[in-house]
């Protein structure tokens, strides 16, 4: 069975072509406002080309992500982000008890039970939005690449610091540091640190956390300095699958294929 999952993120569109539980094609392109549908169609075609398929050979297309309603015309079904993230975690790191998904705009923490069902979900509050956007924007402002930003490892004390309230105050503080002629690398480290704090508030908001096997997903897994800082700040070990960036798209493709879909059983407490 051949299925396609499309993740319409605010920054990037990710596509995974799946056949018999194997990824045979993938694609990634910049997202962006009104051009999202056109960009999705283009990257869909290139992913199919990579897989060596024609459009009529694809049986099902499921979409997820913030821009999922844009591509309704292409989609067989629309899946919300937590469900695809949980499904991808179940596939990529079986036995995951906690899923932590950090993207450009949204940060999300899930607790899974032993059947890989979501028992709790926390999404960032409104002021903590845009962790990935913030890092991307500050990299451009400081004229550094995202790799160079991690040159000075983030530290909690004894360095320049920026506000962890929201991206507005954080950016303002970073620019004040530039005004004081602090080296860009040190400002970058402060920026990464504040992004870590803002992302970790989400996972700390879980009321019944189970950190036995935490799986980290989302675009920010590609930023090594950020991941290292997050590990040390939360004092947790993460499993980061190879496909972490494509995870929501993969989850959508898996759901389209009906992989691991179990019949729903009423919880015992609800029956009585």
């Amino acid at each position: 069975m051949t299925t396609v999952g499309i993740d319409m993120g605010v920054e990037n569109i990710k596509i995974v072509v799946l056949r018999d539980e194997k990824i045979i094609g993938r694609g990634k392109a910049r997202s962006g406002g009104a051009k999202r549908l056109a960009a999705a169609k283009a990257v869909y075609e290139s992913a199919l080309k990579e897989a060596g398929l024609r459009e009529d050979q694809v049986e099902k297309v499921f979409v997820t992500g913030k821009g999922k309603f844009d591509v309704e015309s292409m989609a067989g079904d629309i899946i919300t982000e937590p469900v695809t993230a949980a499904k991808a975690a179940e596939f990529l790191s079986p036995g995951a008890t906690c899923v932590f998904n950090i993207g450009a705009d949204e940060t999300m923490a899930l607790t899974l039970n032993k059947d890989a069902r979501i028992t709790e979900m926390v999404i960032n509050e409104k002021c903590a939005a845009g962790v990935g956007n913030f890092i991307r924007n500050m990299a451009r402002r400081l004229e550094l690449t995202q790799e160079e930003m991690g040159a000075v490892p983030p530290k909690a004390k004894d360095g320049p610091a920026v506000s962890d309230g929201c991206i507005v105050f954080g950016e303002l503080d970073a620019l004040n540091l530039m005004n004081k002629d602090v080296p860009p690398e040190e400002i970058a480290s402060a920026v990464l640190f504040t992004a870590v704090i803002r992302a970790s508030t989400v996972i700390k908001d879980l009321t019944e956390p189970n950190f036995e096997k935490v799986t980290l997903l989302g675009g920010l897994t590609q930023n090594k300095a950020f991941v290292t800082a997050l590990k040390s700040w939360l004092d947790l070990e993460f499993v980061i699958p190879d496909e972490a960036e494509y995870a929501p798209a993969l989850g959508a493709a898996l759901l389209a294929a009906g992989w691991g879909v179990k019949p729903y059983i009423e919880p015992a407490s609800a029956v009585s």
Binding site: A129, N133, F169, E171
Partner: protein
């Protein structure tokens, strides 16, 4: 190489007619903003050269590059300039400057140069801050008002949103005006909320019966920016206290966003006025003002 939608064009110009060697006073102003850096060189209160560049990772370097571009191939050296004044959010980083002056006075003075003596209200729409300035008949600031802390970074954020929405920064303003009626703005408190709301507007199920067009989304976003500026302008003291009337006579926009009609036209519409126009780039106002104020300020400091 992907297209960089956020990049506004840089510019520089040096006069070929003015002979700077015979000028009595050669002064310069450097306005280091968080988004753009401008330098202006004045010979006897006439514009001799200017440069308008993106601010890089180091404010010091950006200031130097801007002045060098403004001097161009005229053969002028930094030592030939009698007074150099730094201004703007990063103005204290102009190492070769004789002094630093706050942006309000420089923008006011620069606006008088740009728009002539009739300008009485100046609205500086910058990358970091929105400042409303009211001037006396002579070149002095009567009253000014800065934006709230949450309303900071409006100009910077337009760069960022153009990058995210993949729309060229010079076109977002004109495109946003191509709507029949202006839709309600997105969140007007801070750009963090406005960004999240704007990026989620496309293809939203709530709008399925009457989907928002691309231009309407830009209109909603830029109206929120204009709204934040309007709240700053509205806090200026009223002009006529006897019969308290608030009006904004002879208003001139300065700063980078003055070149975005999506914002200026909306402010003009809400205030029921028509803004003054100038042959010069309104973004240069701060640098020109600093250059014009440099000699007097340097003399005063030497006397003290």
């Amino acid at each position: 190489m992907e297209q960089e939608y956020w990049k506004w064009p840089e510019s520089s110009w040096t006069s070929k007619e003015i002979d700077w060697k015979s000028a009595k006073a050669v002064t310069a102003g450097v306005d280091v903003g968080t988004t753009g850096t401008q330098a202006a060189i004045m010979c006897d209160e006439k514009l001799f050269g200017y440069a308008n560049i993106h601010t890089g990772g180091s404010f010091k370097k950006s200031a130097k590059i801007a002045v060098e571009k403004a001097m161009g191939a005229s053969g002028m050296a930094l030592t030939d300039i009698r007074g150099i004044m730094g201004t703007g959010a990063g103005g204290r980083n102009v190492e070769f400057a004789g002094g630093f002056m706050d942006g309000v006075r420089c923008q006011g003075r620069g606006a008088r140069f740009l728009y002539g003596p009739e300008v009485h209200t100046v609205v500086d729409l910058g990358g970091q801050s929105c400042t409303a300035i009211r001037l006396y008949d002579w070149d002095r600031v009567w009253d000014f008002m800065m934006n709230d802390k949450c309303a900071t970074g409006i100009g910077r954020n337009i760069e960022f949103m153009c990058d995210m929405l993949q729309v060229p920064i010079q076109e977002i303003g004109p495109m946003s005006l191509e709507v029949e009626t202006d839709p309600e703005p997105v969140a007007t408190s801070c750009y963090c909320f406005a960004d999240t709301e704007t990026m989620g507007l496309f293809g939203r199920p709530e709008y399925r019966s009457a989907p928002l067009t691309e231009n309407e989304v830009y209109a909603k976003y830029l109206f929120a920016v204009a709204w934040r500026c309007l709240s700053t302008i509205g806090k200026l003291q009223p002009m006529d206290v006897g019969d308290i009337r608030i009006h904004y006579p002879e208003l001139g926009f300065t700063g980078g966003l003055a070149k975005n009609p999506g914002i200026t036209k909306r402010i003009e519409r809400e205030l029921k006025i028509t803004a003054l126009t100038s042959e010069y780039d309104p973004q240069l106002a701060g640098a020109i003002g600093a250059a014009l104020l440099a000699p007097a300020e340097t003399d005063r400091r030497q006397r003290q």
